[in-house]
């Protein structure tokens, strides 16, 4: 009985096609950190934090300013590989409201080309509440597609059908020695995406900020690695 029940639960997690069952949508948590929904030809990317480097510099912390280029290069690679028709940027795409103006011409050109190559939606985040000006794309506060709602900040408590970012989840595992990686967190009903930006850190999934958001028995952290993601259960999660 236990085996059958376990198997039932697994088939719950994955669809027949080996994709992840997220509230009825068959999605892929891509190893790059984007969510891919093949049926809708959709890619969702969270927390790009473009121009975070220059934001730090304007406050007197001089860090190298190449983060935007690095993030955009990675994103262009991912979009080239997954070939979506539609992209949703899940908020905090720009590190602050002036970030767009600080883009150097080459980066601006690359970003405009990326945005122009697909049906692009900007979801507003707490760092970038105003829609981007001259870049194209459609600004929204949140967007509903089929069974899923895409918004920047996850709501508190349990919920179903929500895809969010904002928290920059990361998980840490290992007995003899630990490995910490950015991760998707999901209980099959809602999902929180890892941050994609080059200068973004990760918040440990054991942090109080995640408390009460997931049904623990179904909770899985999908840890990012080279070329694959590793599904990890809560029993393995280590604190920092």
């Amino acid at each position: 009985v236990t085996a059958i029940r376990a198997e039932r639960q697994e088939s719950d997690v994955l669809t027949d096609g080996g994709l992840i069952n997220l509230h009825g949508a068959a999605v892929r948590f891509d190893f790059s950190g984007v969510l891919h929904w093949p049926e809708e030809k959709l890619v969702v990317v969270a927390d790009l934090h473009l121009e975070k480097g220059s934001a730090q510099a304007s406050r007197g912390r001089f860090v190298p300013p190449y983060d935007t280029r690095k993030t955009l290069t990675l994103l262009a690679e991912v979009l080239g590989r997954l070939k979506p028709e539609r992209v949703v940027a899940l908020g905090d795409s720009f590190h602050d409201e002036e970030a767009e103006a600080r883009l150097v011409p080459a980066d601006l050109e690359r970003l405009t080309a990326l945005v122009g190559s697909v049906d692009w939606t900007w979801v507003a985040g707490n760092h970038d509440p105003l829609p981007p000006g001259g870049l194209g794309g459609t600004p929204v506060s949140e967007i509903v597609l089929g069974p899923l709602t895409f918004r920047h900040e996850p709501c508190a408590g349990l919920t179903a059908g929500e895809v969010a970012g904002h928290l920059h989840p990361a998980a840490k595992v290992g007995r003899v020695r630990s490995v910490r990686r950015r991760a998707f967190v999901s209980d099959g009903r809602r999902a929180i995406l890892p941050a994609f930006g080059a200068y973004t850190g990760g918040l440990n999934i054991r942090d109080v900020a995640f408390k009460g958001m997931f049904e623990r028995s179904r909770l899985i952290a999908w840890m990012l690695s080279d070329g694959r993601v590793y599904p990890v259960r809560p029993a393995e999660f280590l604190p920092d």
Binding site: A6, E10, V13, L14, G18, K52, Q56, R61, F62, V63, P64, Y66, D67, R69, K70, L167, H168, A170, V173, G174, R175, V176, R177, S178, V179, R180, R181, A198, Y199, T200, G201, G202, L203, N204, D207, I220, M223, S225, D226, Y230, P231, V232, R233, E236, D240
Partner: protein, 205 residues
């Protein structure tokens, strides 16, 4: 555990290069630690067994050609160089040193680590003055290349490997410190694989 007796700096360098080779030979090194007399290397694969099965393996591991391309490549991505860079960045005032007892930040806030800066600079501005400083510090402070080169050519073909069924008394001090220098690579994947839910992982593949 190796006993080259060449001094800590040469051992440090040898450890970096050997772990790189071990990684390439599929022996999944976890890390190494060097003292003035000894190097200890830990791996998640059974190195003793590999050496017993293939008697020529040790000789190939210790070939003097490791000072060529391996050195350059390893230096570029090594933790040691990153640590040197961190020291340089602190001296330059780029980052602050965390004082002991200072308020602990969460991972989300500590977003500008020297590692990130190092990687970004290496990719986009490899001639940056701080990178050059880190490299210069590392090659004088951490490497003892001349001594290492002499040692490698001297020992070539004359290495004795013994498998012990218990830790030898000489090796005890180093065994206590195993893993001081970490190596990222296949071993990380092993840790992730071990933590992952097998049923789901296999169903995905």
């Amino acid at each position: 555990v190796l006993y080259p007796f060449e001094g800590r700096l040469a051992h440090q360098t040898l450890g970096m290069l050997l772990t790189r080779r071990l990684e390439r030979f599929g022996l999944k090194p976890l890390g190494f630690v060097a003292t003035d007399y000894v190097i200890g290397i830990s791996a998640s694969a059974d190195m003793g067994r590999a050496f017993a099965l293939d008697p020529g393996l040790i000789g190939r591991l210790m070939e003097p050609d490791m000072l060529g391309d391996d050195l350059e490549a390893w230096m570029a991505e090594s933790f040691l160089l990153k640590r040197m860079f961190k020291a340089c960045a602190q001296i330059a005032g780029l980052v602050e040193k965390n004082a002991i007892g200072a308020s602990k930040k969460t991972g989300r806030q500590v977003t500008v680590s020297t590692d990130l800066i190092y990687d970004v600079l290496r990719e986009h501005q490899p001639d940056h003055i701080l990178l050059e400083a880190a490299w210069a510090d590392a090659s004088t402070g951490l490497l003892d290349l001349r001594r290492l080169a002499e040692m490698l050519s001297r020992i070539s073909g004359r290495i004795v490997h013994k498998r012990l069924d218990r830790i030898s008394p000489l090796a005890v001090p180093i065994m206590l410190e195993v893993g001081r220098e970490r190596v990222a690579g296949e071993a990380d994947e092993d840790i992730l694989r071990a933590a992952a839910d097998d049923i789901i992982r296999e169903a995905m593949a």
